[in-house]
């Protein structure tokens, strides 16, 4: 009994050390700086690319009647103000000034936008969750206005630069893993049938009123549809293995890139932010050495 308890304690201790090492190993600030640029850059790009204020044209009953403790903010003026606030906060965060306040502001506006049932920030929740991390992280110690203007030099390496990056990676992998598990739970083995992807392509023909050359291939070659569905499942459920063996990222991350490209080309669904978020699985410390040698 004592041996069992000791073995169990050892196992927990090893696991704890492994997790601590994984999250708190010293790292240079540049990858975290790039993560800040990616997150705020994508939010800024989205916010200035859409005429959000036009949502006010649609009847509240249709778009969900958004209100904040009784205040219905689905008016042209309110939505324009919110868009401007979001764009200003995202610009500040992108430049690396008042980053924590910028992250909290962006998060609040994204919550408000999300309440409008219009798919404004479709698939954007992952980005929003990263703002929670940036609210507490020292993400402006590199590649930022602060690092340029401040005479105080940040530590060349610190655990403070590692944990937000690792959390971003784990959260991203969890999203893929969860979507894979949902497919298994809700479809079971029928997910692997060619008819599954073919059926959704037919649905997209209707909703988008569009016929894609690549999508037509799914209808023409059932084997291709079955292989694509199987590959998506393997990638989504398998990529979590990167947490156990870091080298697997060289296999899974390019494969996930390819998966998103194929989904876009066949079903016309683009998860643009993932193309950028996946870049954060690599070490960008060389940006620091490039800076020293005058490349940035």
């Amino acid at each position: 009994m004592n041996t069992y308890v000791e073995t169990k304690t050892d196992l927990f201790r090893t696991l704890r050390h492994r997790i601590e090492d994984d999250f708190f190993r010293p790292m240079t600030p540049h990858t975290l700086g790039l993560a800040r640029i990616v997150v705020f850059g994508l939010i800024l790009w989205k916010s200035v690319s859409r005429p959000w204020f036009q949502l006010a044209d649609w009847p509240a009953s249709l778009i969900g009647g958004p209100n904040l403790f009784g205040w219905n903010y689905a008016s042209t003026g309110s939505l324009t103000c919110l868009t401007v606030v979001l764009a200003v906060a995202a610009t500040l965060g992108l430049a690396g000034g008042l980053t924590r306040i910028a992250a909290a502001t962006c998060l609040l506006v994204l919550f408000l936008f999300n309440a409008i049932d219009g798919g404004l920030y479709d698939s954007g929740w992952l980005l929003a969750s990263f703002l929670l991390l940036l609210m507490c992280a020292r993400s402006d110690d590199a590649l930022s206005l602060k690092s340029l203007l401040s005479p105080k030099r940040p530590a060349p390496e610190s655990w403070e630069y590692r944990w937000p990056i690792r959390a971003i990676q784990v959260a991203t992998l969890l999203v893929y893993f969860q979507t894979g598990v949902f497919k298994l739970l809700q479809s079971g083995l029928s997910w692997f049938d060619a008819e599954t992807l073919q059926g959704w392509y037919l649905f997209h023909q209707w909703t988008d009123s569009h016929y894609f050359a690549w999508g037509e291939l799914l209808l023409e070659y059932p084997t291709l549809a079955a292989v694509s569905a199987t590959a998506a499942m393997i990638l989504e459920c398998g990529c979590i293995a990167i947490l156990l063996c870091d080298r697997l990222k060289w296999l899974f991350v390019p494969a996930l890139f390819a998966m998103h490209a194929v989904i876009g080309l066949t079903l016309n669904i683009w998860f643009t932010e993932y193309f950028f978020i996946l870049l954060l699985f690599f070490d960008w410390s060389w940006l620091g050495s490039a800076k020293k040698t005058g490349f940035s």
Binding site: S49, C136, L174, T179
Partner: protein, 216 residues
């Protein structure tokens, strides 16, 4: 919405308290923050899995923030019920409405919302149809003056705008008969049903019943 705002406030307050609480070491606080962060990510997933296995019927996970979901995790249903809106001109002919008229709503949501409108009150339906009509007229006028209608979306960054989650087809850019803006007099909304197998054999095979209409 109140629930979402409350959750947001609670999350932000927790993060700030954890970040600022000076009584415990920074590293321990970061550990707490990470635990809360992953709990937030995994709780909706756990509830959904529990719902699947135990049929516990927890409706709240659908409104939880940071909920990951699979866009398509089930096989496509055998038959679909959709809504279709068309413009009607002064001689009674019907014309398709370009999906870009709905922007900034994406087509998938536009379809869902139009379908949702079928179960709403007649007043609400008239409101929806009138809005769709007005936006369609503006879009047609834009097309007449500029030669094309690229949607309401490309207003600031042009072709460098953030790629849309789904790119709606340019229906009016194809070989369909497009009415003049001053010739359109109303909107008709149909309830449409189609079968997966039937549509595969012949895309023109579907049922179509008038749900409501709006006349200027």
């Amino acid at each position: 919405m109140v629930l979402t705002t409350t959750i947001f406030t609670a999350i932000t307050a927790t993060v700030i308290v954890i970040d600022r609480c000076g009584r415990i070491s920074r590293r321990a606080r970061v550990g707490l923050l990470l635990s809360a962060f992953f709990a937030l990510q995994l709780l909706p997933f756990a509830l959904q899995v529990a719902d699947h296995f135990c049929d516990v019927r927890i409706p709240t996970f659908n409104v939880m923030p940071f909920r990951a979901y699979s866009l398509y995790s089930t096989p496509a249903p055998e038959s679909f019920t959709e809504a279709e809106a068309v413009l009607v001109d002064d001689v009674g002919a019907e014309h398709p409405i370009d999906f870009r008229v709905w922007e900034p709503l994406i087509p998938r949501y536009a379809n869902r919302l139009l379908l949702h409108s079928l179960s709403q009150s007649p007043e609400s339906q008239q409101h929806v149809a009138a809005t769709l009509f007005e936006k369609s007229v503006v879009a047609l006028q834009t097309r007449e003056s500029a030669g094309q209608f690229d949607g309401f979306n490309e207003y600031l960054l042009g072709q460098f705008s953030y790629p849309k989650h789904q790119t709606p087809a340019s229906l009016w850019g194809r070989s369909v008969e497009i009415p003049l803006s001053d010739a359109v007099v109303g909107v008709r909304v149909y309830r449409v049903g189609w079968n997966k197998q039937q549509r595969r054999l012949d895309p023109s095979q579907y049922s179509r019943v008038l749900a409501y209409e709006y006349v200027r």
